[in-house]
Structure formats: C-alpha cells, structure tokens
C-alpha cells in the first residue's frame, strides 16, 4: 500500500507537468496585456519596459520554464522560509506575481484559502452527515413514504443549480426572516462568544447551499449502494447467525456500501471547489473562488494560471486519495 502510494505520487509528477504546460499554453494564447489597465498617459516606452520587467519579451518556452522554476522551486522555498524562519540561499528570488496587484500570487491565495477551506470543508461534513442516514433509511425502507420524499427532494436538489438555491436562501433567510446576513463580512474578527456566533451565522448559508447540493447527490449513491448490498447473500448469512437488524444493516451492509461512496466523496471534493466559485460570488465570501473570478475579469494571467493549476493538483490528488481509500476499505483490493 505504501509503495503503491509513493509510486502513484511519482506518476502524478509527469501528469501535473503536462497539465501545467497545457494551462500555461492556453492562457498564453489569450490576448491580454498587463499594461492594458494603465492610464493612457503612460507612454509606449514605459509600457515596453514594464513588459520586459515581467519577462514577457522572452520566447514562449523560456517563459514557461521560468514559470515552472518560480512555481515549483521559488514558491515552495519561500513557503518553507515563511514557516520555519530559516533563510535558504540569499532569500531573494523571482516570484509569480499578479499583474493586477503586483503582489505575489501565492500570498494572495494563502490569504484567501482559509475561507474557502472552511466553507467547503464544513459543507462536506454536513453533506455526509445528512446524506448517509438518508441513503441508509431510503434503501432499507425502499418505496416507503420516507424513500419517496427523499427521492423527490434529492432530485430537486440535484437539478437546481447552486446560484439559484443561494438566491432563494438570501431572499428567504436574509430578506424575509432576517436570520442570517446576506453578505459575508470578510473583515470580521472572532474575539468573543458573540462574534463567534456571528461567524457561524454568516457561514451557514454558503455552507448549506454547497452541503445540500452535495447531499442530494451523495444520498442517491448511498441508497443505490445499500440496495445493492442488501440483496447480497452475505446479508442472509448474517441474519441466519441471529444478529440483530441493527448489526446486520449498520455493520455488515453499511461497511460494504461505504466503499464506493467514500470513493465518490473523495473524487467529488475538487468539484466542490468549483461549486464554491459560484457560491462565494453570491455570498461575497472572499475565498479563492472569488479570487479566480477577479483574476479572470482583470485578465490577470499569472493569477488565473496558478489557480487553475491548483485546481488540477486537487483533482489529481483526490484521485489518488480515492484509490488509496478504496484499497484500505476493500480487503480484496491489493495494489502490487
């Protein structure tokens, strides 16, 4: 298992290099000019100077290699320095810099990351907590009224996009009921019980929008997997041993049913980050989704490149995590 994981990690390197090249190449083809947003009074000579200071005079392969070096060597070294307080080399290195803000892209992302992680992470936890029991009960009581309602609700949740649920939530809970703020206060500091409660309140709506969308999907997977397992022969053997229904269903059947569902959860997580882009935009959460939108609108190529690449890393990473979890949960799978 350990050897398998290491090997898969090594395999991920060429994959990610290929992805990084494609992302870099596609975005490089886009017509964009880092000086486009500067006042018209700035002379062409100055503009050319700015471009060359950003390294844009170099031919494409050189710029790609430079970006690689910045992203894979300079930025990690910088992070290590930041965490440990050491100084590695002269501590002066070229970083991936945003065209719009002129600050290092990685710093921007690190600043935005916690909000997104909180919203996405909480939404996943809530989704699992909602979806697993619903899936289990729906399957165990197939075609009961509980199952019928569950099916209906998850179909609805499945087919309504998050921007719509988000707006419905705002209209309902912010405008009418005034329970939760409709706009996320990004400067909010938690320093007391009340401010903590406020933080929870402002997180509830964006988190729930994502959680419900995920739960709708997950509960269907859970139900299908449980139904599949409930009719397996081993269930009859377990019952014949005189085990209670609780043990039969919650231990024997559930343990088997979780195998495909855990995989789906892991594979799904990068998609949730995608979903968070829209949700963050609606609720004005200053996470990386919002950062990406700002970057796209401002044609901030380095920022968009880096964020897109981070999404790609997430997808590759969670694919690996799904495979490893599969091997852990299913004793029949042995990776050589």
């Amino acid at each position: 298992m350990f050897a398998f994981t290491i090997r898969r990690l090594l395999f991920a390197i060429p994959t990610l290099l290929a992805i990084s090249f494609i992302i870099f190449a596609i975005l490089d083809l886009a017509p964009s000019d880092p000086t486009g947003n500067l006042p018209l009074t700035i002379s062409p000579e100055v503009r050319a100077q700015i471009r060359s200071s950003l390294g844009l005079d170099e031919p494409f392969p050189i710029r790609y290699l430079l970006w690689l070096k910045q992203f894979f060597i300079n930025e990690p070294l910088n992070l290590i320095e930041g965490w440990t307080g050491w100084t590695l080399g002269d501590g002066e290195r070229m970083r991936v810099t945003s065209w719009a803000t002129r600050s290092p892209v990685v710093d921007l992302i690190i600043e935005r990351m916690p909000q997104t992680l909180w919203v996405v992470g909480m939404s996943q936890v809530i989704a699992i907590v909602i979806a697993v029991p619903i899936g289990v009960i729906s399957a165990y009581k197939q075609y009961s009224w509980f199952d019928q309602i569950g099916t209906f609700v998850s179909m609805v949740g499945f087919s309504i996009p998050t921007f719509f649920t988000g707006l419905v939530f705002i209209v309902l809970f912010s405008v009418h009921l005034q329970w939760f703020p409709s706009i996320y206060d990004t400067n909010h500091v938690i320093d007391s019980w009340d401010s903590f409660v406020f933080q929870i309140k402002q997180m509830i709506m964006p988190t729930m929008v994502l959680a419900l969308a995920t739960a709708a999907q997950l509960s269907r997977y859970m139900r299908a997997s449980m139904l599949d397992n409930l009719q397996q022969d081993y269930v009859r053997t377990a019952r014949a041993k005189g085990l209670t229904e609780r043990v039969v269903v919650m231990i024997h059947v559930l343990r088997n049913s979780m195998i495909p569902v855990v995989t789906v959860i892991a594979l799904n997580i990068p998609t949730i980050f995608g979903g968070a882009i829209i949700t963050e935009q609606i609720f004005r959460v200053n996470g990386i989704g919002q950062l990406l939108i700002i970057g796209i609108q401002g044609a901030d190529i380095p920022l968009v490149q880096t964020l897109t690449f981070i999404f790609a890393v997430l997808i590759v990473l969670f694919n690996l995590i799904a495979d490893v979890l599969y091997g852990i949960l299913d004793p029949r799978i042995r990776y050589e």
Partner: protein, 333 residues
C-alpha cells in the same frame, strides 16, 4: 418410530409466494414435513423445485420480494411465525445452523473469517473474545482447515470455494445447533473432503442428537446418509418416506424417473439428477391439477382437474399421486 419422538421441527401447509413483475410465483405450495431430533432428512428435487425457498421460509430468511402467506412452523412445539424478534434471533443464532447454497457469496467480503465466526459465538454463547477465538479455531480445524488459528485473520477471498464452504459449515455448527439445515453443503468440495464433512456431520448428529435437513442433487449421498427422503416437485412435496422404503418402492412417477436416471444407487458423486424430459412447471398459481401432469406417462382425467393430496402407502411412506404403481390403476381414495 417417528410417532414416539416429539418432532424437533414440524412444518404444516407452508406457503411462500414471490411477488414479481410478471405476477405471483408460488415457490412453496402447502409443504408439510417434520424432522425428529437426531434424524437426517434428505431433500431432493430438480432445480427450481423450491427446496431452498422452503428452508429459508422456516426462519424467515427470505428475500424482500417473498412473502409467507400461510402455514405453521413449529420448533420444539413453539410457533416460529408467532415469535417475537428476540425469540426469533435466539432461535436463528443458537438453535438452528444454516449452510446456504452458494459458498462463494455467503461470506461478507470485508470482514475476516475469524470475525464472522466469533461474532456468532460472542452474541449467542456469551463467550469472551479469547474464548470465541479459540472455539473458532477449533471449528475451522474440525471442518478440515489446516493452520486454523492463523487463517482466522484471513479474508474470504483468500480462501478457495471449497474452503469457503467449509467456513460456512463451521459457522453453522458454531453453537452446537439442534437443527442443521444444509443446502447442498458439499457441492464445491472434492470427494475426500466431502466424505470428511459427511463423517463429521454424522458424528455430531450422534453426539448432539442434532436433526439435519440435507438438500442435495446427489441421490448417492441421500442413500448413504439419510434416514428419510423428501422429494419435491414444483414447490410441493410429491413423495416422502424412509430411505430404504422409498428407494425400494418408489411411488410417484417423478421419483421413479429420478431413480431411473441414476445408474446405481451408490454411483459416483458427480451423478447428479439428470433432467427428466419435458419442461419444468410454471409456478404461476395454486394449481387445481397435478403439476407433473404435462410430463407424466400415466395421466388420468382426474390428474387434470384435481391436485392429489399426500396419502400414506404404509411404513411412514406417502405420495401425492392418483396412480398406483402396484396395480397400474388409479388409486381409490
């Protein structure tokens, strides 16, 4: 002899129906039989005749689409269908051992074999973890698995088909059941192991006075070990009697055909029931005629209007047929 011993299991007029998309399937149709303590009853009948469904109906281990629509199941005089949850669980866990037909899928793939045995011991024998482990290892060696203590930690997929069948047998025997229901328990085993398992079951039956229902396609096994034979056809018991008596004087045309297709009573183990000419019956509805009529060589008019009831022909032997092989005429009942 049977009348003097109170039966361990007494089944009367049991009816089980599958609700399927294409209508009701009457898989078990008014089945009545009994098993005495220490008695080994062999059940034979072609594929689809309802042997497995009958046995699953006893302890209500049926799939969801099946429903028991009538009849009575008494275990030591207690009505199983009227039992509450706890009583039924205790009966299943403690008093009855089941060996299901398909050894490849009968074990849970994600738990070790040891856990699947000890689980039962801990719940129904009140054993500690260590005691249950020891007993589980003992059971595995009993069914002929070597290096038993170590193999407890293995998962089902690490065992061959025959080994898995032996694990299932070990689970069934774990709590020294009073009744063992074995659905083709030796089909996946080679001859030596089969003989070993049969010897083991015989031995336990003596020691524990265990009643046994042994479903098989192998008439050779039946002749060798059974006290009594039940012949099933189309969800019904068509003939039943002590093994010598039934083999010597088969009454029902179906039983006779079965015995004719068998080269010799003590034939090789692979001599399974050969298919008898004609289509197997459909189980669409409660029939008002003999289900064997379309394939029978002796059909009378009455066979097509009335389903024969089982009648005693002497020596604890009964048959459900209008035809009398002694006279070649219709029975006068």
């Amino acid at each position: 002899m049977r009348d003097t011993i109170a039966p361990l299991l007494d089944v009367a007029q049991l009816k089980t129906v599958f609700h399927t998309r294409s209508g009701a399937v009457h898989a078990v149709n008014s089945v009545s039989f009994s098993v005495a303590p220490g008695e080994l009853v062999g059940v034979v009948g072609e594929s689809g005749s309802g042997k497995s469904v009958t046995m699953m109906s006893l302890m209500n281990l049926l799939p969801r689409s099946a429903e028991i629509v009538g009849g009575e199941v008494l275990f030591e005089g207690r009505d199983v269908r009227a039992m509450n949850r706890a009583e039924l669980l205790r009966l299943r866990g403690r008093d009855v051992g089941f060996v299901f037909q398909d050894p490849m899928t009968s074990l849970n793939p994600v738990f070790t074999v040891g856990r699947q045995i000890t689980e039962r011991l801990r719940k129904h024998m009140n054993m500690s973890k260590a005691e249950a482990k020891m007993r589980a290892a003992e059971l595995l060696s009993l069914v002929g698995i070597s290096d038993a203590a170590r193999r407890l930690q293995d998962y089902p997929h690490q065992f061959s088909g025959g080994m898995r069948q032996r694990v299932v047998i070990a689970i069934a025997l774990a709590c020294d059941p009073k009744l063992l229901i074995a659905d083709e328990p030796t089909t996946a085993l080679d001859v030596t192991i089969q003989a070993q398992i049969i010897a083991l079951v015989r031995d336990l039956r003596q020691k524990l006075d265990m009643g046994i229902v042994w479903i098989t396609h192998d008439l050779g096994v039946v002749a060798g070990i059974a006290d009594r034979v039940i012949v099933m056809y189309a969800g019904q018991i068509v003939e039943q009697g002590p093994v010598r008596e039934l083999f010597a004087r088969p009454q029902h045309p179906y039983t006779r055909a079965l015995l004719e297709t068998l080269p010799s009573v003590t034939g090789a183990r692979s001599e399974r029931l050969r298919t008898i000419e004609g289509q197997p019956p459909s189980l669409g509805g409660a029939p008002d005629r003999c289900p064997f009529a379309p394939r029978c060589a002796h059909t009378f008019g009455r066979c097509l209007t009335e389903n024969p009831q089982r009648i005693e022909v002497g020596g604890g032997h009964d048959v459900a047929c209008w035809w009398d092989p002694q006279t070649g005429e219709m029975r006068h009942v």
